[in-house]
Amino acid sequence: MVLGNDASSSSLSNKNLSVLVVDDDPLIRMLHDNYLKHFGLKPLVVENGKEAVDLFQLGTSFDLILMDKEMPIMNGVEATKALRDMGATSMIVGVTSRGSPSEMQAFMEAGLDFCFEKPLTFDMIDFILKELNVNDDDDTNN
C-alpha cells in the first residue's frame, strides 16, 4: 500500500478528530504522538488503561483510541472492556507487541475495532483514518 500524498491532503479533515494514545512506554507514546501529528491530529497521551477510563468517566470522549495491551495498573484488555461497558463508541485500535493470533483475538474480543502488531506505520494510520472517515460519512448519510 502506498501512502503518498493522501496523508497530507487529508490533514485538514483530520484536524477535528479527537485521539487518545494509551501506552506505558514513553518511547512508544512519543512515536505514536508524532505519527498522529504528522496526519494533522493533536492526540492526548496517557500511560495506562486506568487513565483512559478515568478520562471517559470525566466526560471526555474520543473519536479514536490507540490502545496498548500490556500496561501496569490497567491493561488494554481491561480498559477496552471497561470503556465498552461504559458505552464508549470510540474507534478503539489495539497496537500491541503480542502478535500471536490467539493473543490478538483475545484483545479483539475485549471490544476493539481493529488490532495491529507493533510497530505502528503510516499505512496503518492511513487505514484507520480512512475507516474513521467512512464511519463519519455513514453517520452523516443516516
Binding site: M1, D25, P26, L27, I28, M30, L31, N34, Y35, H38, E70, S97, R98, K118, P119, L120, T121, F122, D123
Partner: protein, 155 residues
C-alpha cells in the same frame, strides 16, 4: 564540495545499516517524521531508546544470572524491549530478543544466556554504528527525507 562528500559518506553509512540488516524499513518511517520543526527527531528517538535499553539490559542480565530467575519479569521486560526495538527499526536486536525469549520459554537457560549475550552485542553494535552517523548528520545539518533503501521490503 566538502559538504557534498560528507553527505555521500552519510548516505553510504545509512545504506550499510540496511545492507547489514541492522536496521529495517521502520527506520525510514521515523525519518519521515522529521521536519523543519523537528529536525533532530530521529536522533532524539534513538537517544531515548538507548537510554532505556541500556538500563533494561543491565537489569535483565542481573536477573538471568541469579539462581532464581523471575521468568515472567524477564519475559515482560524483553517483550517491551521487542516493541520499542521494532518501533525504531532495530532489526537484528529485535530478532535476538525473540530468540532469547523463545529459549527462555523452552526452559533452555544456558541457550537463553548465550542468546542474550548476542543480543547485547547486537545492541552495542547498533549504538556504535549510529553514534558516528548522527554525529556526521549534525555536521552537515538536516538531510532531506531519505528514499526507501535498496533491498528493504518493510514499510
Amino acid at each position: 564540495m566538502e559538504s557534498s562528500h560528507l553527505r555521500q559518506q552519510i548516505a553510504a553509512m545509512r545504506q550499510s545499516f540496511f545492507d547489514e540488516e541492522i536496521l529495517d524499513g521502520q527506520f525510514c518511517q521515523l525519518e519521515r517524521l522529521e521536519n523543519r520543526g523537528n529536525p533532530n527527531f530521529v536522533e532524539e528517538v534513538l537517544t531515548m531508546y538507548f537510554r532505556d535499553s541500556t538500563t533494561l539490559l543491565q537489569t535483565v542480565e542481573q536477573e538471568i544470572e541469579t539462581d532464581t530467575i523471575d521468568l515472567a519479569k524477564v519475559d515482560m521486560m524483553l517483550h517491551k524491549f521487542k516493541g520499542s526495538s521494532a518501533s525504531i527499526g532495530a532489526n537484528k536486536v529485535r530478532n535476538n530478543i525473540t530468540k532469547t525469549r523463545q529459549l527462555l520459554e523452552e526452559g533452555n537457560l544456558e541457550g537463553a544466556k548465550l542468546a542474550f549475550r548476542e543480543l547485547r552485542m547486537e545492541h552495542d553494535n547498533l549504538r556504535a554504528k549510529l553514534e558516528p552517523y548522527f554525529q556526521q548528520l549534525r555536521q552537515v545539518g538536516p538531510v532531506e527525507t531519505a528514499t526507501r533503501p535498496k533491498g528493504s521490503d518493510h514499510a
